[in-house]
Symmetry: C2
Subunit: 204 residues, 2 copies
Amino acid sequence: MTSVESAYELGRRDRKKLETRAALEHAALTLVAERGLAGVTVEDIATAVDLSSRTFFNYFPSKEDALVGGSPASAAELRERLEAVPAEVPVLEALRLMSRAEAEHVQRRREQWLLRLKVFEQNPSLLPRLVASGTETELAVSAAVARRSGVELGTSGYPELVTAVALTAFRAAMMRWSAAGGHPALADLVDEAFSQIAAGLPDP
Amino acid sequence: MTSVESAYELGRRDRKKLETRAALEHAALTLVAERGLAGVTVEDIATAVDLSSRTFFNYFPSKEDALVGGSPASAAELRERLEAVPAEVPVLEALRLMSRAEAEHVQRRREQWLLRLKVFEQNPSLLPRLVASGTETELAVSAAVARRSGVELGTSGYPELVTAVALTAFRAAMMRWSAAGGHPALADLVDEAFSQIAAGLPDP
DNA sequence: ATGAAATGTTGCAGAATCTGAAAAATCATC
DNA sequence: GATGATTTTTCAGATTCTGCAACATTTCAT
């Protein structure tokens, strides 16, 4: 819970910064959910939070980035979660545990994530960005996987492959979760996906 | 080979269109490889092919889309390749065969794809787009998978998962191929990735 | 061959995105 | 409170992208 604890130690300035960022994210999501991606300008979003549009760009490089928001977790957090799993645990299982933890984190921000995923469904051009946020983390995670499995990055391709597949499974579970209105427990869907993968994805 | 055969039947107009499109793609790739993404404007690209920038936008909605080019294959082509595989073949194996065919197609355009992948490595902000181009196809393929495996889309999540994992494996193989300078046969790398997945991604 | 229809290309006007630089407001600290 | 650091704002400007109308080329029927 490093991130939460350290939040207590922030001064007014940084607290406001986080607030502003969250407010912009929220405004962007709700506005785009209402009017669609093309129906909302950065100006609109900024005005909704009573800020100048230039300030918006101090927080996000583009309109789309505000919708993606902070990635589900920072690369560092995921890596920590992975490294917290004992070394005897097989790699895929370790990635499952990491993903479960992440799933619970997402579920804690249930409403926000369902809104986000809904926006993404309605504006498919955004989907790439969602994957993009994973791109940075994918590197960090695959590096950790390489260390754990004693394989060098860029040789066998194993760390890259397991990592990519694991994150893909996580994303698939999120989509399914969203499509089901967020009713099932996301962690269960994650487990299910990993089970199928561990079994080699046999015909159903 | 439907696409090739039908290409013979194109009139001058459509032939020119394809040429123009390819020329724009090529110019975009080489220019960005030289100067970086930010160092190239749409104006530059259009001028390099002696077209107005307005015409550029008749072909591609954005600079980035010109770099991604036509996806490795159209969704329809992939679906056809998948449907060409006998129904008795297990789903994952069918997807492997489909990916192999695609790999050979990419290898036939070796230089172009290596350049593209190099540009993507140098401009990580583009990576999402590469995956994006897969997004459309992912839908078509998962629909075909659903039909083949007799499962409805959006219920078990199985078609979506296998499809996503298969395309991920393909992408991982392409990255590895690119990192290795395009020397190994892409089809072999694809096979290897699918083997590991079929085995449940055990520790190496 | 010729003319009408369809389609491709271009220039222009204009909205929206995004960046740099400097002034103005706000916050931290002493 | 005064001082220094950070954030927000204003402003100018480059670039991206879209609609529209004019013009050029290709296609097709005759």
